[in-house]
Assembly symmetry: C2
Homo-oligomer: 155 residues x 2
DNA sequence: TTTCTTATTGAGACAGCGTCTCAATTCGCC
DNA sequence: GGCGAATTGAGACGCTGTCTCAATAAGAAA
């Protein structure tokens, strides 16, 4: 947390912004959640703890944190944007199950290297590399197979 | 177009659905546009030609076409979903410029193979593999460099 | 410390976009 | 042609994220 606070304050100063209680509160809150969470849920969690930060401010500061690289922003389903705090530069990607909604994370350095190579080839300067797979997870696949081949009571 | 109509009708029959004029119209319309387009613009284009298909129906049938694989659905910016007709299994991915909004497409078989390999390793059955890069395109990079290093009138 | 400038916040209105509802229509089968 | 179900049209609706603007507070300067 010292690490992140320092990085955030550094970014703030560097950009002629101001460090505020609301900013510290949003930073602490997002770093206390270790799953993907949307802005409204994060806001509700804060209100639940008695932290009076407005909805607009939570949205604004999550985006600020994303800009400064402490938080990542994903759209894993079409309904809402999810945020997640970074963990020391450990970038990962996602597989999303259509059936159960489960999100599986994976890290693959080669995939990233290859994306960077493509960018280089096009003279494109990337800020954000995303790989996303939508499909059916192993659990749902097994469940479907079990249902399909040997249902408890015959059809 | 015969190809796609046949594939669509086959999918329709296979799923106990019905072929309608609205479906044919949406299919023809999306295949007549060769850039990314959103549902409302496609709807407007149809109305412009005198095709009376409702907004909801355009949305519904674009999603149906996406389900059956004739159309792909992307969210290249956070504002809206864009659709694009497939071209004989030629899957591609996108780089989006933050500054000018330009979208650069690229095809890379290795990247796809690698994604499939990761899925296999996780027992994940993919329907949809997406790679998206957000950053700064070569044109904007050059424009920025020109502005930064040698402005017409001194600072 | 007090003063001053201005970035930030809060509260709610607003907007975009996609979904839903339900009566009317159309499809496909008999 | 008649029937039952799938599809459509029109608009209301809901969810998310953005914007507005007056009030507040950060932080530089005095
Ligand atoms: Mn994640
Ligand atoms: Mn494309
Ligand atoms: Zn699943
Ligand atoms: Zn550009």
């Amino acid at each position: 947390m010292y690490q992140e606070t320092a990085a955030f304050e550094h970014y703030i100063r560097d950009h002629g912004l101001r460090m505020t209680n609301a900013r510290r509160a949003v930073l602490e809150e997002i770093f206390s959640h270790h799953e993907h969470i949307d802005a409204d849920r994060l806001h509700a969690a804060m209100r639940g703890k008695g932290l009076d930060v407005s909805r607009a401010t939570v949205y604004r500061n999550l985006d600020l944190l994303a800009d400064c690289g402490l938080v990542r922003k994903y759209r894993l389903d079409r309904h809402r944007v999810l945020y997640e705090h970074m963990h020391a530069g450990m970038e990962h990607d996602h597989m999303v199950c259509r059936e159960c909604g489960r999100v599986v994370e994976f890290v693959n350095r080669d995939l990233r290297a290859q994306q960077e190579e493509i960018c280089r080839a096009h003279g494109f300067d990337p800020d954000d590399l995303t790989v996303q797979v939508v499909g059916c997870c192993i659990t749902c696949k097994k469940a479907r197979a079990a249902r399909g081949s040997a249902p408890p009571s015959g059809p």
